[in-house]
């Protein structure tokens, strides 16, 4: 099976010449389709940085990334934006919904950015919201929704355009346990699609059992991987 993501020696340094700090030290790994992969590790170890690079929102200072066989690290900015719009879905810790748009309109954003009218896009998004149990809230504004509901709108936005890769940064960190489980249940279902890979960054051990595979990071390096049985003992889940 083709790999959804393949990274080769990703390095990332922040700061200018005087105060450069290296955050990622040569990361190599692959992600498979039809799987929910979880990237875990202590705060500050570089998970968000790695996720940003894999999703083409941050350019690494070294190494290459292929997503669906396309080398995104070699793409020009405009091409990368279009690639993100068409092939990648994003879910953020803070939801990042536009406060002036309804749930359906928010969920339609990837379609609208792709040229669809807001009305048509919202119509398509409404159907997706219904599958997530959010049909009754489609016309509400984000501030009228709970955190868990907002995150489900964000999931609808991340899947409305049927992307091949979905990246989620701490999707449950701002949620209570029950909402967190709901969100993870949905992500688990979404990841079952054989044409899609889901990557979830988390340091919330309550949700580790949703993972098909866990990759552990520490200080900008991969410290273990359940796929080759090198996961540290404390991260093992049944």
């Amino acid at each position: 099976m083709a790999h959804a993501v393949q990274s080769h020696g990703i390095e990332m340094e922040f700061g200018s010449n005087g105060t450069r700090t290296k955050v990622l030290h040569g990361i190599d790994f692959t992600l498979d389709m039809g799987r929910l992969t979880m990237l875990v590790g202590p705060s500050g170890c570089g998970k968000t940085t790695l996720l940003s690079i894999l999703s083409g929102t941050l350019r690494p200072t070294g190494g290459d990334v292929d997503v669906m066989g396309r080398r995104i690290t070699a793409m020009a900015d405009a091409e990368k934006v279009r690639f993100r719009r068409d092939r990648i879905g994003f879910i953020f810790q803070q939801y990042n919904l536009l406060p002036a748009l309804t749930a359906a309109e928010n969920a339609a954003m990837p379609l609208v950015a792709g040229g669809m009218s807001l009305g048509d896009g919202a119509g398509r998004a409404r159907a997706v919201l219904e599958t997530l149990g959010m049909g009754a809230h489609a016309d509400k504004l984000p501030r009228q929704l709970s955190g868990g509901q907002q995150q489900r709108v964000a999931i609808a936005r991340a899947i409305v355009h049927a992307p091949a890769l979905i990246v989620c940064d701490e999707p449950t960190a701002a949620l209570d346990a029950q909402s967190g489980r709901q969100v993870m249940d949905i992500l688990k279902q979404v990841s079952a699609d054989p044409g899609r890979a889901v990557l979830v960054v988390s340091h919330d051990n309550r949700i580790y059992h949703y993972a098909d595979r866990i990759i552990a990071m520490e200080d900008g390096r991969i410290a273990g991987d359940s796929a080759d049985d090198t996961l540290p003992e404390e991260l093992h889940v049944h």
Partner: protein, 381 residues
């Protein structure tokens, strides 16, 4: 995406209204100050422009503006009349006089003496009396504001029939006219030329200006230069003389500097308010733009959104501000200090351009910020 841009803009009603009002305020400030300045400056020329019948004004070469008088010898009138191309030429007296009411109150007035026969130079809009009333013995006319100034708190029409003295000669108020407000705020009084020169103190010369009408087919410019060549006097077309008067006040007084400072302040304050509010609006939405960029909106789409938002608030704010300015001046038409001040289309266009520039600069400035925003910021708290 334009629908998204508009929803973002109007979604936060408080900010949206603040933006529009900021721009409206800046527009009002600029258009109002510039209009007052232009109105004030055009007053310096109003006495010239009001005399519609005269194509050319002839005067002493030393005269630089309407309120400066160097009288000509009487024979100048005859010399001008004899020049080819002159349809008619009449004298005009202009000077200051002391006006004493029966109560003993004394006011300095600007006295205009118009040709006894033709009455050229007298205003055309009568509030009471008529052109013929100027022919009555001892007749004097005032403009309504002048009458109000001399007899404050009375109906100006009550001035009709009042006896008074001008430079110790008896006169009777026979009419009220509506003259364009002059720059100098003395009341304006009109008399016949012959009367005016007898009530004013004896001096060698009394003839302030010769007003000339060109014969059909002769241009004012050609006639003016012919008069200058043949008499050695200064002859200016009506428009030229009006401009001279305006330029004199512009270049020789502190008014333009003071007003320039006021207008510059209005522009700076207006620009600061406008640019600042819009810039802040965009900066506050930076995270939203960042999210859109991460999701796949191109810089071009985002630029379109910001420019559309700028254009909408700019247009609405400008219309509101200009409208308020127009309403302001329509309400102040009866206030003597602001009479005749209007919102000219040139001011409207000029202020529109300035507001447009300010908005353009503000949106380009904020666009740079939006372009630079790293879509990865949306992953950060």
């Amino acid at each position: 995406m334009w629908q998204v841009a508009l929803k973002m803009l109007t979604g936060d009603r408080a900010k949206y209204i603040a933006l529009i009002f900021g721009i409206a305020f800046a527009t009002l400030l600029m258009s109002q100050q510039v209009s007052i300045f232009i109105g004030l400056m055009s007053r310096t020329a109003s006495q010239v422009l009001d005399v519609r019948e005269a194509d050319v004004w002839v005067m002493d070469p030393r005269v630089r503006y309407i309120d400066e008088v160097e009288a000509l010898p009487d024979e100048a009138l005859g010399r001008v009349r004899s020049i080819d191309g002159v349809a008619w030429a009449v004298p005009l007296f202009k000077g200051l006089a002391m006006f004493r009411t029966t109560d003993g109150l004394v006011n300095q007035v600007s006295l205009v003496g118009v040709d006894d026969e033709t009455l050229v130079g007298a205003p055309r809009v009568w509030l009471a009396g008529g052109l013929e009333s100027l022919r009555e013995p001892d007749a004097i006319l005032f403009d309504a504001q002048g009458a109000d100034f001399i007899w404050p708190g009375q109906d100006p029409l009550a001035a009709i029939g009042k006896e008074a003295e001008i430079n110790d000669s008896r006169v009777v108020v026979r009419g009220l006219v509506d003259a364009s407000a002059p720059f100098i705020t003395f009341p304006i009084a009109y008399m016949r030329y012959s009367q005016a020169i007898t009530v004013t103190p004896p001096t060698r010369n009394k003839l302030s200006f010769v007003l000339v009408r060109a014969r059909d087919g002769v241009t004012a410019e050609a006639l003016a230069s012919r008069i200058e060549a043949e008499t050695g006097l200064q002859a200016l077309t009506r428009d030229d003389f009006a401009w001279r008067s305006i330029l004199y006040y512009l270049t020789r007084t502190g008014i333009p500097v003071n007003f320039g400072i006021t207008i510059a302040l209005a522009v700076i304050v207006g620009a600061a308010i406008t640019a600042q509010t819009f810039y802040l609006f965009v900066i506050e939405n930076l995270k939203q733009f960042g999210a859109l960029k991460a999701i796949g909106a191109t810089n071009r789409q985002i630029a379109g959104m910001v420019l559309l938002q700028a254009a909408v608030v700019g247009a609405l704010g400008f219309c509101l501000g200009i409208g308020t300015c127009a309403v302001f001046f329509s309400f102040t038409q009866d206030v003597p200090a602001l009479e005749g001040f209007i919102l000219r289309w040139q001011v409207l266009v000029g202020v529109g351009v300035v507001v447009g520039l300010i908005i353009a600069i503000a949106s380009l400035g904020s666009l740079l910020k939006v372009f630079r925003v790293d879509p990865a910021i949306v992953f950060r708290g």
